[in-house]
């Protein structure tokens, strides 16, 4: 029985640690991508240009003449009237910020090398409301960027490749021309694809450099509850006739990976609890066989079948309470210890140690799984014990 108890303790503890880790990384990933690309992206305007048309109909005979066409939408690059759309979007009660962003390809040249890059033109004050860019600065000063329209913010990996630092100059070249910018600061999001190719400059500078004085931009939107992004995005799409993508849709692949990891680790660790439950079932089943004389004598004294079953269920319940309590304790200690382990992660996010999430649902889930397993493991032997006929056992012993 002690082995079963230890099994439950370790099962519950490991379950909590596994969930804390996978949830921790998942939450951190969500925070990172929300802090970089926002919750909703409102991009190309669309118009329903093609649809089947009823040319004529006869209601009496029920015959319709339809000119059929391949139905669909035609997209026009960028948002229409960005200022008006921003204003309209801002009226959604859940919206906390809207930033107009113009994206384009440029070549960036430093004193050492040349590199292709993605240019993002934005207004800093607007963008601060839809991103965590101010928290991502690792070199330089964002106030310098704000004060100087001819300055740029460069991703950390790109800066490393170009061998530049804050205060250095770079040349940005598009098909329309080239301009020189001072690097106001270097940022690191932790997302490799962004850090190695994105450069931020002021929106009007970007329009000028890319030769797009009007249109072509998208809106990056932040909302108070990011979990509601799909509903709000769908609502915006219907209202404004613009292609709108929530962060859940945009990052579906990674979110699926995290979900699969979470489920997979939960299943793997649950097997420890399951095996402990099997061990406990085995122990209790053996105990019923070994203690059948005691069961018979208790029955002869007036103990009911329910009383006998309860003896074995109580043992399971004691194991459940002790196992869950000490498992929780182990989970807390192990989660805390793991959160202190150094771990250098770059790629999908930036972290220097294991990331864990403390959430009551992990403890509740572990307790629920162990409750189901232990009750099943106890009830079957308990029912078997309750079914024993005292006369048969005592007669067998007396022979």
């Amino acid at each position: 029985m002690m082995m079963s108890l230890f099994g439950i303790v370790f099962g519950v503890g490991f379950f909590i640690v596994a969930q804390a880790q996978t949830s921790g990384f998942e939450s951190f990933f969500k925070r990172t991508i929300l802090g970089v690309n926002g919750a909703i992206r409102v991009a190309d305007r669309f118009q329903s240009t093609l649809s089947s048309v009823v040319a004529a109909s006869d209601q009496e005979s029920g015959v319709n003449f339809v000119v059929s066409a391949r139905e669909g939408k035609q997209y026009v690059e960028g948002v229409d009237y960005p200022d008006a759309l921003k204003e309209a979007i801002s009226r959604f009660s859940e919206v906390t910020g809207v930033s107009e962003v113009l994206e384009g390809r440029v070549d960036v040249t430093s004193g050492f090398r040349s590199q292709p890059a993605r240019l993002h033109g934005m207004r800093l004050n607007d963008h601060l409301a839809v991103s965590n860019i101010s928290d991502q600065i690792i070199d330089g000063d964002i106030n310098v960027y704000e004060a100087d329209a001819n300055s740029a913010m460069v991703g950390a990996l790109l800066a490393k490749r170009l061998e530049v630092k804050a205060g250095d100059y770079i040349l940005l070249a598009s098909r329309e021309g080239s301009r020189r910018y001072r690097i106001a600061c270097i940022y690191e999001t932790g997302i490799e694809d962004i850090d190695k190719q994105r450069i931020y400059i002021d929106l009007s500078e970007a329009r000028s450099l890319l030769g797009k004085p009007f249109g072509g931009a998208f809106l990056q939107v932040n909302i108070s509850d990011p979990e509601k992004a799909p509903i709000i995005a769908a609502h915006m799409e219907r209202t404004f006739s613009h292609h709108t993508v929530s962060w859940q849709e945009r990052e579906q692949v990674w979110l699926e990976v995290f979900r699969a990891l979470k489920v997979s680790s939960a299943i793997t660790v649950s097997t420890i609890i399951l095996i402990s439950g099997l061990g406990m079932f085995n122990t209790l089943a053996m105990m019923v066989m070994e203690k059948n004389r005691e069961i018979a004598i208790l029955r002869s004294m007036g103990y009911t079948r329910r009383d006998i079953a309860q003896i074995f269920i109580y043992q399971g319940v004691i194991i459940l309470f002790l196992g869950t309590f000490f498992g929780w304790l182990l989970g807390v200690i192990a989660t805390f210890s793991i959160s202190r382990i150094p771990l250098h992660i770059r790629g999908v996010f930036s972290a220097d140690h294991f990331i864990v999430e403390w959430h009551w649902s992990h403890y509740l889930s572990a307790a629920l799984i162990s409750t189901v397993v232990i009750l099943l493991a106890s009830i079957i032997p308990a029912r078997r014990a309750a079914r024993l006929e005292p006369g048969t056992i005592i007669r067998g012993t007396s022979l």
């Binding site: 004389r293 005691e294 018979a296 004598i297 208790l298 029955r299 002869s300 004294m301 007036g302 103990y303 009911t304 079948r305 009383d307 006929e389 005292p390 006369g391 048969t392 005592i394 007669r395 012993t397 007396s398």
Partner: protein
């Protein structure tokens, strides 16, 4: 079911048995263990049930103790028909009316003598914890084990364990004490001690005692002797 005083009327039989039949085994091994056994048991008497091995003594005792069900016939305890009663009624009757002493003591080895004696009282639930403890201590003193009440039952000798089993059987002050070879594992001295104890209880407390025994010496000391041959009284 009558529970008041549990032995309210000492003039009527505490136990009545009518036409008990019991078959044991399956197929060709099936035997007619009891063939229409009928008798009454009065208060304050020690009944000895004797007979050769396999004549049905223990089978009869388990039927009377409601640990087994007869194929036909009826058993009344304090006027309540219980042979085919519900499991709940029969279990309750065992708790209230019946005490058992088996050939093997069947004590719970992990419990002390005192705890073993408290067990039936705990189930009946009529006494407080202190009252149960006092009563158990008194019963153990009656069987000469007052000083050893806190010893684990597995640390007692065979004779002592059997005496604890007797004290336990008396815990709820049952109307009937059913004993199956209670001295079977004891030497003559301890056998006499146990029998004297049971006999004294019957006469002092008005309990009816049915004792299955192979011991001729003890059988002769019983108030009434019932001889069983091939499933019938002779």
């Amino acid at each position: 079911m009558t529970h008041t005083g549990e032995r309210a009327d000492l003039d009527t039989p505490v136990l009545q048995v009518d036409g008990l039949h019991r078959w044991l085994g399956e197929g060709e091994a099936r035997v007619h263990a009891l063939k229409g056994v009928s008798f009454d048991v009065e208060h304050s008497n020690v009944y000895g049930i004797v007979g050769p091995s396999g004549c049905g003594k223990s089978t009869l005792l388990y039927l009377l103790g409601l640990l087994d069900r007869p194929d036909s016939g009826e058993i009344w305890i304090n006027g309540n028909p219980l042979a085919q009663g519900s499991d709940e009624d029969r279990t309750r009757a065992r708790s209230v009316f019946i005490g058992f002493v088996f050939q093997f003591h069947f004590l719970i080895p992990e419990f002390t003598a005192l705890e073993n004696v408290i067990l039936p009282m705990g189930k009946l639930g009529k006494l407080s914890e202190d009252e149960m403890r006092d009563r158990a201590q008194g019963l153990l003193a009656d069987v000469g084990l007052g000083e050893k009440s806190h010893r684990l039952s597995r640390h007692l000798s065979g004779g002592e364990q059997q005496r604890v089993a007797i004290a336990r059987s008396l815990a709820n002050d049952p109307a009937i004490l059913l004993t199956d070879e209670p001295t079977g594992n004891l030497d003559q001295k301890n056998s006499d001690l146990v029998f004297d104890l049971l006999s004294r209880l019957a006469h002092e407390r008005g309990q009816a005692i049915l004792m299955v025994t192979h011991n001729d010496h003890l059988a002769k000391r019983c108030d009434r002797l019932l001889s069983l041959r091939d499933g019938s009284f002779v």
